[in-house]
C-alpha cells in the first residue's frame, strides 16, 4: 500500500507534469509549424508576394482558427496517447507471428483507431487550409441530363483518406519500430539543446516517412479507392460527377499538384506528431534529483534508497538509477550522504539499501543469463544426445544411442514464442502439425546453422518436461522472459504438462508406434516446410531473443556505473569504511555477471551487430544495449581494480574470482 502511494506520488507530481509541459510546448510550437505549412502548401513561384499576403489573411480567418483549435485537440490527444503507451523497456517480438500478435492486440487496436481518426481530422484541417479544389466534400454540379445535384469532391475525399492511412501506418510502424520506447541518453544536455539537436532528424524522418506512406497509399487507392468512394456517396447521398474522370486511375493519380499536396499534408501531420513525441521523450527522460536522505520522516519515501527498491513503476526506478549513476560520478557531497551513518544507531542504511538493490538487479540478470544459456546449450546438445542424459552428464559423455532417443520424449512440439499471446492460441488450435517444423532436425530442410540456433530457444520448455529435471531449473524457467512486459510473462513457457500434445504421451509405448509417429511427423514437417507463409510467420527473428534478454539493461548499466563509481570514491571519501564490508559481494557479483555475459556472447547471433536505420523516429538503442552492458561491466570492474590495486588481494572472494581479478589487475581481460 505504501509503495503504491509512493509511486502515485511520483507519477502524479513529476511524470504527469512533465508530460503536460511537453504537450504545452508542442501546442506552442503548432502556430509556427502551421504557418510554414500554409506557406509551403499555397506557394506559387509566379506570385510570391501575392501568396504570402494571401497566407497571412488566411491565417487570420475564422476557419483557420477553428481548424487550429482542432489541431490543438489532436496534439493534446497525441500527447495523451504518448503518456499512456510509452515504455522504458521495449517489447521485443521474437518472431513474425508475435509481431502480428502485438499488432492485433486490443490495446493496439484502439491506438490505431484513434490515430486514424486523428489523421482524418488533421487531413480535414489541411484540406481547408490548402483550399481551392480540396475545400469541401460536396459541390453542386450539373449532370449530363442538365439537372443540378450535389456531387462528391474526390479531391477532398482522397486527402481525408490519405490522412487516415498515414495515421494508420504511423500507428503500425510505431509497433514495428518500437516508437513508444523511451530511451535514456548517455550524454546529458539541456532540454532546449537536445530539442534543437534532434530537430533536423525529425524533419528528415517526417518527410521521408510521409513519402513512403503516400506511395503506399496511392497503390492502395488505385486498387481499392472505389470502395470508400461508393460508400461515402451512398451514405451522404452524393453523386459522382460523370464529366470528370475518377481519381483511382493512372491519369487521375499522376497529378503532380495533388501528389505534392498529399505529401506536404502527410509531412505536416507526421511532423506535428513526431515533435510531440520528441518533446515527450526529452521531458520524461530528464534527470530528476532525488534526495539521498531527508530530515523529515514524511519525505522518507521520496529518498533515493526507498525509491530504488520501488517495484510498482519502472520509470521511477529508472530515473532513480540514473540519478544514482550521476551522483556517484559528479557529486561529492551527495556521495558523502550515501556513505554516512544513521544518526541514532550508526548504521549505514543508505549505502546498505542502495548496494543491496543494485546487487539484486545484477544478480537477477546473471540468473537470467545462466538460465537462458542452460536452455540453449541443452537444446543444442539435444540434437545428438538424449534429453534425459543431457542435464546429468554435464561432462559431455557421448551417450548417443538411438534407442534412448525414442525412449525419451522430445516435447518440442509446442510453439513457444515468448512475446506472443496470439501464437499461443494458434499453438493450442493445431498443435503438432504446425509446430513440427521447429524441431531442429538435421535432415529437415531447415537445417541451416543459423536456423538451428534460431529454433533452439523456441523449445525452451523442453528440458523441463519429462523425467530428470532439477527443480531449480524449473523454478528459473519463467524468469527467462520476465525482462519484458506482462504479456511476455504470460506467453512464456507454461510448465504445465497439460499443454503437451497427446501423441507425446504415448512415446514410451512400443517402438513400432513411435516409429510410425516419427514418420508421420517427418511427413507433416516436410509438407509444412514447403509452406512459405508458415515459415515466414514462425521463423525466429535473429538475435531477437538476445535483445529481449537485455531489454531492460539500461537499469543494469546504471547500477554498474553507480556501484563502481561509489566504490572508487570510497577509496578516499568513505570515512567509516561502510563500503569495505560489501566489497567482496560487489566484486563477486560483477565477476559472476562478467562470466555469464562472456558465455552469452559466445552464442551465435548474440554478438552480431544489428543493422541500423537512421531515418526513423523509432529508437533502436535497445538493440545495442547488450554491447553497452558488456563494455560498462568491464569498465566497472577495471575501475575498481585500478583504484584498489593490490589491496584487492586481501578481499575475500572465491579462488576462481581471485584468478579473474588477477587478470584484471594485470590488464589481460
Amino acid at each position: 500500500m505504501f509503495s503504491t502511494e509512493q509511486s502515485c506520488w511520483f507519477i502524479r507530481k513529476v511524470i504527469c507534469w512533465r508530460a503536460a509541459a511537453s504537450i504545452a510546448w508542442a501546442v506552442l510550437l503548432l502556430p509556427p509549424i502551421t504557418a510554414v505549412f500554409v506557406i509551403l502548401s499555397r506557394f506559387s513561384l509566379l506570385h510570391p508576394i501575392h501568396t504570402i499576403s494571401e497566407c497571412f489573411s488566411l491565417l487570420m480567418s475564422a476557419s483557420a482558427i477553428f481548424s487550429f483549435i482542432l489541431l490543438c485537440g489532436v496534439i493534446i490527444m497525441v500527447g495523451f496517447l504518448n503518456l499512456e503507451y510509452y515504455t522504458v523497456i521495449p517489447t521485443i517480438a521474437c518472431s513474425k507471428i508475435a509481431m502480428f500478435g502485438q499488432l492485433l492486440h486490443p490495446r493496439q487496436f484502439v491506438n490505431t483507431l484513434v490515430h486514424c481518426i486523428m489523421g482524418i481530422i488533421v487531413a480535414w484541417c489541411c484540406a481547408v487550409t490548402i483550399g481551392g479544389r480540396y475545400e469541401t466534400l460536396g459541390y453542386p454540379c450539373t449532370q449530363s441530363d442538365g439537372s443540378t445535384q450535389m456531387c462528391l469532391n474526390e479531391y477532398h475525399l482522397i486527402l481525408l483518406l490519405a490522412g487516415a492511412f498515414v495515421g494508420f501506418s504511423h500507428s503500425l510502424l510505431g509497433v514495428i519500430y518500437n516508437m513508444n520506447y523511451v530511451s535514456f541518453t548517455t550524454v546529458q544536455q539541456y532540454k532546449y539543446l537536445r530539442f534543437k539537436g534532434s530537430l533536423p532528424l525529425v524533419v528528415k524522418c517526417s518527410a521521408t516517412q510521409a513519402l513512403y506512406s503516400i506511395r503506399n497509399y496511392i497503390v492502395v487507392y488505385f486498387f481499392l479507392g472505389h470502395i470508400p468512394r461508393a460508400w461515402i456517396c451512398k451514405t451522404l447521398n452524393l453523386h459522382l460527377n460523370s464529366s470528370i474522370h475518377t481519381l483511382d486511375s493512372i491519369a487521375g493519380l499522376l497529378d503532380l499538384s495533388l501528389l505534392y499536396h498529399m505529401w506536404i499534408s502527410a509531412t505536416f501531420l507526421l511532423f506535428t506528431w513526431y515533435i510531440t513525441l520528441l518533446l515527450f521523450r526529452i521531458f520524461v527522460t530528464e534527470v530528476y534529483s532525488f534526495p539521498v536522505q531527508s530530515s523529515f520522516t514524511e519525505d522518507a519515501h521520496q529518498c533515493l534508497p526507498k525509491v530504488l527498491s520501488e517495484k510498482q513503476s519502472v520509470i521511477v526506478k529508472f530515473l532513480a538509477l540514473q540519478d544514482l549513476a550521476l551522483l556517484s560520478q559528479h557529486s561529492p557531497s551527495r556521495r558523502c550522504e550515501v556513505f554516512s551513518l544513521s544518526q541514532p544507531g550508526g548504521h549505514p542504511h543508505n549505502w546498505n539499501s542502495i548496494s543491496r538493490e543494485c546487487l539484486s538487479l545484477l544478480a537477477d540478470l546473471t540468473q537470467r543469463l545462466v538460465a537462458y544459456h542452460d536452455t540453449v546449450a541443452t537444446n543444442g546438445r539435444a540434437k545428438s544426445l538424449s534429453t534425459g542424459s543431457e542435464r546429468k552428464s554435464s561432462s559431455g559423455t557421448s551417450v548417443t544411442s538411438g534407442t534412448e532417443e525414442f525412449m525419451s520424449p522430445r516435447p518440442t512440439l509446442l510453439m513457444k514464442t515468448p512475446a506472443s499471446v496470439f501464437a499461443r492460441s494458434i499453438g493450442r488450435g493445431q498443435q503438432s502439425p504446425l509446430t513440427a517444423p521447429f524441431t531442429p532436425e538435421l535432415d529437415s530442410p531447415f537445417t541451416s546453422p543459423s536456423l538451428r540456433r534460431l529454433t533452439a530457444p523456441l523449445e525452451q520448455c523442453s528440458p523441463w518436461y519429462g523425467t530428470v529435471q532439477s527443480p531449480h531449473v524449473m523454478r528459473r524457467a519463467p524468469k527467462l522472459w520476465s525482462a519484458s512486459t506482462d504479456s511476455q510473462i504470460n506467453g512464456s513457457c507454461p510448465p504445465s504438462p497439460a499443454s503437451v500434445p497427446s501423441p507425446q504421451q504415448e512415446t514410451s509405448k512400443p517402438s513400432l508406434l513411435t516409429q510410425f509417429l516419427q514418420n508421420r511427423k517427418e511427413q507433416v514437417k516436410n509438407f509444412l516446410a514447403k509452406r512459405v507463409l508458415i515459415m515466414y510467420l514462425f521463423n525466429k527473428l535473429p538475435e531477437a531473443s538476445s535483445q529481449a534478454l537485455f531489454a531492460d539493461s539500461q537499469a543494469h548499466i546504471w547500477a554498474l556505473e553507480g556501484l563502481s563509481y561509489l566504490v572508487q570514491a570510497s577509496f578516499s571519501e568513505d570515512q567509516f569504511g561502510v563500503v569495505q564490508t560489501t566489497l567482496p559481494s560487489i566484486l563477486s557479483c560483477m565477476l559472476g555477471l562478467q562470466e555469464a555475459v562472456d558465455r552469452h556472447f559466445k552464442l551465435p547471433h548474440a554478438s552480431s551487430k544489428p543493422l541500423r536505420w537512421s531515418s526513423s523516429m523509432g529508437d533502436s538503442t535497445y538493440k545495442t544495449l547488450r554491447f553497452a552492458l558488456r563494455a560498462t561491466l568491464k569498465t566497472a570492474i577495471y575501475r575498481i581494480t585500478t583504484t584498489f590495486g593490490d589491496h584487492l588481494n586481501a578481499v575475500q572472494v572465491s579462488t576462481e574470482h581471485q584468478k579473474r581479478l588477477q587478470q584484471f589487475l594485470e590488464y589481460k581481460e
Partner: protein, 520 residues
C-alpha cells in the same frame, strides 16, 4: 617571464639527451646512445626504406584501364555513386552530345552555382579548400605529419604497452612482456591522424582515420600477429571526415572526435555505435580535442581564432576568442584545473584556471576565468655554441604535460629550411600546488639531423616522468626524468600515495623561476 635565455644551451653536435637525474639533463655521444638503444626493448627504429608505401591511390588506377563506353544511365549512376550530386551534374554536363540541350545547360548552370557557393564558403573558411591529407597535416599535433614515419603514438594508460601508426597506414602494438607485436590493418585505415587507448580497458584502441573512426579490440592474450578486420568497429557519420583528433573520457565511457570539416563535435557511445553531435555555430570545424584528466572539461579548438572549453556534465561550452590565430595545442594539469594552450602565430604559452564547481549543485556550469594569462615566452633566442649560433624558439607545435604535473614538454617548430633553427623540445619543470610555477629544465635533443616530430609522456612512470619522442629518422626514444614527486599523486593512481617531499634544491631554482603566480 622571458624565457629561453634561462635555459642551458643546446648540446653540441653529435650528442643527444639521455635522461634527467639530480636536476640536470645528462647527455651522451652517439655511440653511447646506440648502446643504450639496444638495451631498452622499447626503443624502436623504423627506417623509412623498410616501409612499403602505397604507390598510387585507388582512384588513380583508373588511368591504367582502357576507356570503356557505357550507356549514359550507367555512367550517371556511377557518377552519382562516386561523386554524389556534383559528380552527376558534371557527368551530365560533359556528355552534352547525348542528353537534351536543356538538361545539359541546366545542370551546367547548377554546377556553376554550386561551385560559386562552395567557393564563397571556402573564402570564409580557407581550410575547407584543402585536400583531406593536407588538412590532417595542417591540424595535426605532429610536426610535418605528411613526411613522418611514425604518424601517431599512444601509450596505454595503465598497462606497459603502446601503439604506433606508421606511414604505410599500419598500426603496431608493442608490449615488452609479450613476444608478439600485433599489426593492425584495415581497408578503411588510411592517413591515421591520431590513436588513443581506451582508459579502464585493456584492449580497445581508437584510431582517427581519413574517412571514419576505427575502434580496434585487440585481445592482449591473443597470440595472433594480424588481428582480422572483424576486430575493428567502424564509426562513421556523414560529413565527419577527415577525423583529426580524438579523445576518450578518462572514465572510459565516451569518445569524442573532431573533424575540421564538421562544425559539430561528435560524442560517441562506442559500444552502442551511436553518436550525439554537439553543434555550435562559428569556427568552421573542430581541429583538436583534449579531455582534462579529471574528466570535467574538454578543450575543442577550431580552425579560426576561437576555441571552446566544454563542460562535460551538461555539455555547455565557453567560447574563447583568440586575437591572432587558432589554438594550436593545449594540455591540462593533472587535476583538470589549469589549461595551458598555445596560439598559432604567437610564441607564448597561455594559462587558464578553472575553479571547481561548488559541490552539490547539479547543473551549474563551472565559473571560468575571465582572461588567459601568459606564463611563458618562447620567442627566438640565440645560443652561441661551439658549432656556431643556434636560434631556438618561435612557434609551438604541441604541448604535453606529464601525469604528475611536474614536467612540461614543448615542441618548438623551428625552421626545417635553415640549419641553425632546428625543431627542438624544451622541457620545463612545473609545480601546480600550492601555486603554479614554471622553471627551466633543458632541451631534449636526439641524434644528429634528427628532428623531433611527436612526443608523449608515459602515463604511469614510477620514478618520475618518461618522455617518448618519435624522431624524423623513424627512431623512437624514451627520455626518463628521474625526480621525486613533490605533489600529491594523481587521481586514480593505484598503490599507496607517495610521501610529499620537498624538491631538491629549491633555493637554487627559485632564482630563475620563469613564472610564478605570486609574481603575476
Amino acid at each position: 617571464m622571458c624565457s629561453l635565455a634561462l635555459f642551458p644551451p643546446p648540446l653540441p653536435y653529435g650528442q643527444s639527451t639521455l635522461c634527467e637525474s639530480n636536476n640536470e639533463l645528462l647527455s651522451g655521444t652517439n655511440v653511447e646512445d646506440g648502446q643504450n638503444q639496444e638495451s631498452s626493448p622499447l626503443s624502436l627504429y623504423f627506417p623509412r626504406e623498410s616501409l612499403k608505401l602505397h604507390s598510387r591511390t585507388e582512384s588513380s588506377s583508373k588511368a591504367a584501364f582502357l576507356d570503356h563506353s557505357e550507356t549514359l544511365w550507367m555512367r550517371s549512376a556511377a557518377a552519382w555513386r562516386d561523386g554524389g550530386l556534383t559528380g552527376l551534374l558534371t557527368e551530365i554536363t560533359n556528355s552534352y552530345t547525348e542528353v537534351p540541350k536543356w538538361l545539359s545547360m541546366s545542370s551546367g548552370c547548377t554546377l556553376a552555382l554550386l561551385r560559386s557557393v562552395s567557393s564563397l564558403h571556402g573564402s570564409l573558411f580557407p581550410h575547407l579548400t584543402l585536400s583531406s591529407e593536407d588538412m590532417i597535416a595542417e591540424f595535426s599535433q605532429v610536426l610535418d605529419w605528411s613526411d613522418c614515419v611514425v604518424r601517431a603514438f599512444a601509450w596505454h594508460p595503465h598497462a606497459d604497452k603502446f601503439a604506433l601508426a606508421l606511414l604505410d597506414d599500419s598500426i603496431k602494438i608493442y608490449n615488452p612482456k609479450s613476444a608478439t607485436t600485433p599489426t593492425l590493418k584495415h581497408r578503411l585505415q588510411r592517413s591515421v591522424a591520431a590513436v588513443q587507448w581506451k582508459p579502464l580497458c585493456a584492449s580497445a584502441l581508437a584510431v582517427a582515420c581519413q574517412n571514419c573512426l576505427l575502434v580496434w579490440h585487440v585481445d592482449p592474450c591473443s597470440l595472433s600477429t594480424r588481428p582480422s578486420s572483424g576486430c575493428a568497429q567502424v564509426l562513421s557519420h556523414p560529413g565527419h571526415s577527415p577525423v583529426t583528433s580524438i579523445a576518450w573520457s578518462p572514465s572510459g565511457s565516451l569518445l569524442v572526435s573532431a573533424s575540421p570539416v564538421d562544425t559539430a563535435v561528435m560524442i560517441w557511445d562506442v559500444a552502442a555505435e551511436s553518436c550525439v553531435p554537439l553543434q555550435r555555430v562559428g569556427g568552421g570545424g573542430v581541429t583538436f580535442l583534449s579531455w582534462s584528466p579529471d574528466g570535467s572539461h574538454v578543450l575543442a579548438s577550431t580552425p579560426s581564432a576561437l576555441f571552446r572549453v566544454w563542460e562535460t556534465r551538461m555539455w555547455t561550452c565557453e567560447r574563447w576568442p583568440c586575437v591572432k590565430g587558432r589554438c594550436q595545442s593545449g594540455c591540462w594539469s593533472p587535476d583538470g584545473s589549469r589549461l595551458l594552450f598555445t596560439v598559432q602565430g604567437e610564441t607564448v604559452i597561455y594559462a587558464l584556471t578553472f575553479t571547481d564547481t561548488p559541490a552539490g549543485i547539479p547543473s551549474s556550469t563551472s565559473k571560468g576565468p575571465q582572461a588567459a594569462s601568459v606564463v611563458a615566452d618562447l620567442s627566438e633566442t640565440t645560443f652561441t655554441t661551439a658549432d656556431g649560433d643556434i636560434i631556438v624558439g618561435g612557434e609551438i607545435q604541441s604541448l604535453v604535460w606529464d601525469p604528475r604535473g611536474e614536467r612540461l614538454a614543448v615542441l618548438l617548430k623551428g625552421d626545417s629550411q635553415s640549419t641553425d633553427r632546428p625543431a627542438i623540445i624544451a622541457v620545463f619543470k612545473t609545480r601546480t600546488s600550492p601555486i603554479f610555477e614554471l622553471l627551466p629544465c633543458g632541451f631534449v635533443q636526439g641524434e644528429p639531423d634528427a628532428e623531433p616530430r611527436l612526443m608523449q609522456f608515459h602515463p604511469n612512470f614510477q620514478h618520475g616522468a618518461l618522455l617518448t619522442v618519435c624522431w624524423s629518422t623513424g627512431r623512437i626514444t624514451h627520455v626518463p626524468f628521474y625526480f621525486l614527486s613533490a605533489g600529491v599523486p594523481h587521481f586514480g593512481l593505484s598503490g599507496s600515495p607517495l610521501l610529499p617531499r620537498p624538491q631538491d634544491g629549491p633555493s637554487v631554482l627559485a632564482g630563475q623561476s620563469l613564472f610564478s603566480e605570486l609574481l603575476s
